[in-house]
C-alpha cells in the first residue's frame, strides 16, 4: 500500500504539504502496533490519573467532604496565603531542603560506590551474601526501627555506651533531645536502611556491561581501578543520570514515617518538615483544601526542578528523560 503513488503531482508548497501528510500517515501505518502499545499506557494514565486530577481544584476551594467538590465554595488563594504567612514556615523549609540536600549529596553517591565495590568482590558467594544482607533493613518498618533507634540513642542507650567506652565522648548525650544532631541522625539512618536496596538498580546496570570490554581493557594493561573508572562507571552513567534527575525533583519530599517517629518537641526546630507540617495542620484536622494547596505548591516546585535538572544534564552529558 504505497499511498505516495496515488497522490497526483502538484506544484509548490501544497505538494510538499500533502507529501508530508502522506509520509506521516505512512509512518503511522508502519508503527501501528507500536502506537497501540504506547497508547494503551496513555489510556491507563487518562483513566487512573487524569480523570481524578480535577481534585486539585479543592486547593482553591473550601472543601468539606459532605458536599461534592463542584459545589464547594471558592476560596481563591486563601490557603496558599495561609501557608506562606505561617511563622514556622522558615525553619520548616530549611529543614526540608537541608535534610534532602544532605541525602542527595551523601546518600546518592554511596549506593553507587557500594555497587561498584560489591562488583569488585572476587568471591561470587560472598558477593551474593553481602547483597542479600545489605538489603534486609529496607524491610523494617520505620515505626519499629524508629522505636529501636529512640532506645539506642537515649542517654543510657547502647550508642552512648559504645562511644563512652571508646572515649569519643565523656558524658552521655541525649541525642534526640538536641536539635543539632537531628539531621545527622536522619541522614545516616536513612543511608543505613536503604543502602543495599538503592544499590540494586546499579547492580542491574553493571550486569549489562559486556565482559568483552573488560577483557579488551585487561589486554591493554588496565588495572582494576582503571577498569572501574573507565568502563564500569561510564557504562552506568545513563542510569545514574536518570536517577539523579528524579532524586533532584524529589527534594521537597521527606521520609514522613522516619521523621515522624524521631521527631519530638525538643528537636522541633530541626525536625519539622513540610510533610509533617501538613500532617499537623491539614490532615489530622481534615483540612483537605489546605493540605491539597501545600501539596500543589510542592508539586509545582518539584516539576520545575525536574525540568531544570533534565535540561542541565542534557547539555552536560547528553542524557535526559526526554
Amino acid at each position: 500500500m504505497d499511498s505516495q503513488v496515488t497522490i497526483p503531482e502538484k506544484h509548490g508548497n501544497e505538494a510538499t504539504r500533502v507529501n508530508k501528510a502522506a509520509l506521516f500517515y505512512k509512518k503511522l501505518q508502519r508503527q501501528k502496533i507500536l502506537q497501540i502499545m504506547a497508547l494503551s499506557g496513555m489510556v491507563w494514565l487518562i483513566i487512573f490519573h487524569y480523570i481524578p486530577i480535577y481534585g486539585i481544584i479543592i486547593a482553591f476551594k473550601e472543601y468539606n467532604i459532605v458536599q461534592s467538590i463542584s459545589s464547594a465554595p471558592w476560596a481563591g488563594l486563601y490557603h496558599f496565603k495561609e501557608f506562606f504567612q505561617d511563622d514556622s514556615l522558615g525553619y520548616v523549609i530549611k529543614n526540608t531542603f537541608g535534610m534532602s540536600l544532605l541525602k542527595l549529596v551523601i546518600g546518592f553517591p554511596i549506593p553507587i560506590l557500594f555497587a561498584l565495590l560489591l562488583n569488585e568482590l572476587r568471591s561470587v558467594r560472598f558477593k551474593k551474601a553481602v547483597q542479600t544482607i545489605s538489603y534486609l533493613p529496607h524491610f523494617l518498618s520505620w515505626v519499629i526501627l524508629g522505636g529501636i533507634l529512640t532506645t539506642w540513642l537515649a542517654d543510657v542507650g547502647i550508642i552512648n555506651k559504645v562511644l563512652l567506652a571508646l572515649g569519643f565522648i565523656h558524658e552521655p548525650i541525649s541525642y534526640l533531645a538536641e536539635p543539632s544532631y537531628f539531621w545527622t541522625i536522619v541522614v545516616s539512618s536513612d543511608i543505613w536502611k536503604e543502602l543495599g536496596w538503592s544499590a540494586i538498580i546499579y547492580l542491574a546496570a553493571i550486569t549489562g556491561v559486556s565482559p568483552e570490554l573488560y577483557e579488551a581493557a585487561t589486554i591493554d594493561g588496565a588495572g582494576r581501578f582503571q577498569k572501574m573508572y573507565y568502563i564500569t562507571l561510564p557504562m552506568i552513567k545513563g542510569t545514574i543520570t536518570i536517577l539523579f534527575i528524579l532524586a533532584v525533583s524529589g527534594i521537597l519530599n521527606s521520609n514522613f514515617d522516619q521523621i515522624f517517629v524521631l521527631k519530638n518537641q525538643l528537636n522541633e526546630v530541626a525536625s519539622n518538615v513540610i510533610d509533617t507540617y501538613v500532617y499537623q495542620i491539614g490532615i489530622s484536622q481534615g483540612r483537605y483544601s489546605y493540605a491539597t494547596a501545600v501539596g500543589l505548591v510542592k508539586s509545582v516546585i518539584a516539576f520545575i526542578l525536574l525540568l531544570t535538572a533534565n535540561s542541565i544534564t542534557k547539555r552536560l552529558n547528553n542524557t535526559s528523560l526526554f
Binding site: V156, Q265, G286
Partner: protein, 541 residues
C-alpha cells in the same frame, strides 16, 4: 544445601500458584447480600419490645471506627447466644488503618453500612448528620418501635439532640446526672498521681501535696534509689509531650489543683491561674535541679510503657488505666514494686482534687445509616441492646454457660473471669452500647493491683459533662484558631519548663499569651462559652 534450596523454591512456587488461583476466584463475592424486606405487618405496640416479634435471620453490617477492635461476631458463646435469641447476625467492620481517613472517604462516597459506631466527639458525627447520611432515631422509634423510648435515658437522648429536637445517635459509657445520683461513690476517675509503693514506703511516705514536699520527695528518691536494675531512676513521669502540649500538665494538673472550671456561669481561663503557674514553675525548678529526665520530653507511649514495666519512674502523673497492663506485669513479678495512687499536687489550701469522671457525652456513639437494610429490625435491635435485658446479655452472656445466680447475685463464673485463652465474648467485648452504670451491677470485683490505683479517686471524681466537647471543630474558623493556639502552646510549654529561671519562664509564658490574643483567642472563648451554656441547658432539661 542446594537440594534444600530447590525444595523450598518448588514449595514456594506451588503454594504461590495455588493461592493465586484460590484468590482470583473468591475475589468478587462481597456485598452481594440482598436486603430482605421487613415484616411490616406486625402491629406497633409501645408496651411490647419489638425485637421479640420477629427473630428471622438477618445480617447487618456494622462499622466501628476503631482500628484496634479485632473481634468477629459469632466467634464466642455470647454473640452466638444473642444471634440465636434475636435472629440478628452482625458483620463487624473496622478500618484497617487511619480511622478518620477511612470514615471521611466513606462519607465522601455517600454510602455507609447499616450501623456506625464512632467517637461521640468525632468531627465525622457532625458530617454524617449534615450530609443526611444517618436517620433520626426518634423518627425510627415513632414509626417502628416506640418501645425504644422505654429503654433509653431521655437525658442522654436530649444531650445528643439537634436544634430541631431529633437525635441521631445513642452513646455508650455515658453517665447522666441520673446515673451519678444512683452511683455516687461507684464512679471513679482514671486521673491519678502514682508512686512506686516500695520506694515511697522506704522514704517514709512523704507528703507530696505542696511544691516543697513534692520537690523534696523526688530529691530523696533520687538520692536513695539512684538506679533501678542498673539504669538511672527517672524521678517523675508524665504523659507524652506532643505538638499541642502535655496532657498531664494541662487540665489534668488543673484538676489536681481544684481550679474551678467556671466562675458565676463564665468559663474560667484555668491556664492563667496563679496556683497553676506556680506549679508549672515548680516543674521548671525540678528540671533545673536535675529531677526531670530528658526522656520525659522525648519518649512516646511505647518507650514509656517499657519504662513503667521496668519500674523506672518513682512518681507519675499518668492515667492509671493507660498503664494497667504494665502494672499487671510488675505485679506478677514482684507485688511490692507496683505503683499506688497517693495525694499529689494540690492547691495552697490543700483541697481535694476535682478529677474528671465519666461524662454524659460518653465515649462512642452509635448511628443508623440511611442505607440501612431493614429500618424496623435495626431500631428493634438497637432497643434490645440498650434495654436492661440486652445489657445483661452483653455483660454476662448466657445463663448456665458463662454466668449463674450465685449467692442470690447474677455473676460470671470464675473461670470466665480467669480464663484468658478462650474468649467468651462477655463483659462488653462488644462495647458499642455499654451502659456503664448498669455494668456496675454485674461487674466482678476489681483486682488488687488495680484497686490500689483506683480507690483513691473515689469521692474525688466529678461530673464535668457541662464542659465536654467545648473545643471547636477542625475546619471552622474557631477550630483553626484553636488548633494554632494549641500548637503555639505545644512549643511554649517545654520551653517554659526547660528555661533557666522563673524570669525566663515568665517571658516565654507572656509571649505565648500575646500570641494567643493575636491569633484570635477571644473567638475561641466566645465559642466555648456558647457551647458551655448549651451543654448546661441540655443537662438541666
Amino acid at each position: 544445601m542446594v537440594i534444600m534450596r530447590k525444595f523450598i523454591t518448588a514449595v514456594t512456587l506451588i503454594s504461590l500458584l495455588l493461592t493465586a488461583a484460590g484468590c482470583a476466584s473468591n475475589g468478587k463475592n462481597s456485598g452481594s447480600e440482598t436486603p430482605k424486606p421487613s415484616a411490616e405487618q406486625t402491629a406497633v405496640n409501645p408496651d411490647e419490645p419489638g425485637w421479640k416479634g420477629n427473630t428471622e435471620p438477618i445480617t447487618f453490617d456494622w462499622y466501628l471506627n476503631y482500628s484496634w477492635f479485632q473481634k468477629k461476631w459469632g466467634s464466642d458463646p455470647t454473640s452466638q447466644y444473642i444471634t440465636k435469641k434475636t435472629g440478628v447476625n452482625l458483620n463487624l467492620m473496622v478500618p484497617a488503618g487511619n480511622e478518620s481517613e477511612k470514615i471521611n472517604t466513606m462519607i465522601a462516597s455517600g454510602k455507609m453500612p447499616d450501623f456506625i459506631t464512632l467517637d461521640a466527639n468525632d468531627d465525622a458525627v457532625k458530617r454524617l448528620i449534615e450530609g443526611k447520611m444517618v436517620l433520626p432515631l426518634n423518627e425510627l422509634a415513632d414509626q417502628y418501635d416506640p418501645y425504644f423510648y422505654k429503654v433509653i435515658d431521655p437525658s442522654k437522648a436530649s444531650w445528643f439532640a439537634e436544634p430541631d429536637g431529633s437525635f441521631y445517635g445513642y452513646p455508650n459509657n455515658s453517665s447522666s446526672p441520673r446515673d451519678y445520683e444512683a452511683n455516687e461513690t461507684m464512679f471513679t476517675s482514671t486521673q491519678t498521681f502514682m508512686v512506686r509503693k516500695d520506694m515511697y514506703e522506704a522514704l517514709g511516705k512523704p507528703d507530696m501535696r505542696t511544691p516543697e514536699g513534692f520537690l523534696n520527695a523526688l530529691k530523696l528518691a533520687k538520692e536513695k534509689f539512684p538506679e533501678v536494675d542498673g539504669q538511672p531512676l527517672i524521678p517523675l513521669g508524665l504523659h507524652e509531650f506532643t505538638d499541642t502540649g502535655n496532657y498531664a500538665l494541662e487540665n489534668y494538673l488543673q484538676n489536681f489543683l481544684a481550679i474551678p472550671q467556671e466562675v458565676d456561669g463564665k468559663l474560667n481561663d484555668r491556664t492563667t491561674n496563679p496556683e497553676y503557674i506556680n506549679w508549672l514553675k515548680t516543674f521548671r525548678k525540678l528540671n533545673s535541679e536535675g529531677l526531670l529526665s530528658k526522656d520525659v520530653f522525648i519518649d512516646k507511649r511505647p518507650q514509656m510503657e517499657e519504662k513503667i514495666a521496668q519500674g523506672r519512674y518513682f512518681a507519675m502523673l499518668f492515667q492509671w488505666k493507660d498503664m494497667s497492663s504494665q502494672q499487671n506485669i510488675v505485679y506478677q513479678k514482684d507485688p511490692s514494686r507496683i505503683y499506688m495512687s497517693i495525694d499529689g499536687p494540690s492547691n495552697a489550701k490543700l483541697e481535694d482534687p476535682t478529677l474528671s469522671g465519666p461524662e454524659i457525652s460518653g465515649w462512642g456513639l452509635t448511628l443508623i445509616s440511611k442505607n440501612v437494610k431493614d429500618k424496623k429490625r435495626a431500631i428493634e435491635f438497637l432497643t434490645y441492646m440498650i434495654s436492661e435485658e440486652g445489657q445483661k446479655d452483653f455483660a454476662l452472656g448466657e445463663k448456665g454457660v458463662t454466668y449463674d445466680t450465685i449467692d442470690g447475685k447474677d455473676q460470671l463464673y470464675q473461670k470466665v473471669i480467669d480464663e484468658t485463652e478462650f474468649d467468651y465474648g462477655t463483659q462488653y467485648a462488644y462495647f458499642m452500647l455499654t451502659d456503664y452504670s448498669m455494668w456496675l451491677k454485674w461487674a466482678p470485683p476489681t483486682k488488687e493491683q488495680y484497686t490500689i490505683l483506683e480507690d483513691w479517686t473515689r469521692g474525688k471524681t466529678h461530673n464535668f459533662s457541662a464542659f465536654s466537647n467545648l473545643n471547636p471543630q477542625g475546619t471552622t474558623e474557631e477550630g483553626i484558631i484553636s488548633q494554632k493556639i494549641r500548637q503555639q502552646w505545644g512549643k511554649a510549654l517545654p520551653k517554659m519548663i526547660l528555661s533557666k529561671s522563673d524570669e525566663d519562664f515568665d517571658v516565654i509564658f507572656n509571649d505565648f499569651l500575646q500570641d494567643r490574643e493575636k491569633l484570635g483567642f477571644d473567638k475561641v472563648v466566645a465559642y466555648q462559652q456558647k457551647k458551655f451554656e448549651e451543654n448546661s441547658a441540655k443537662l438541666t432539661k
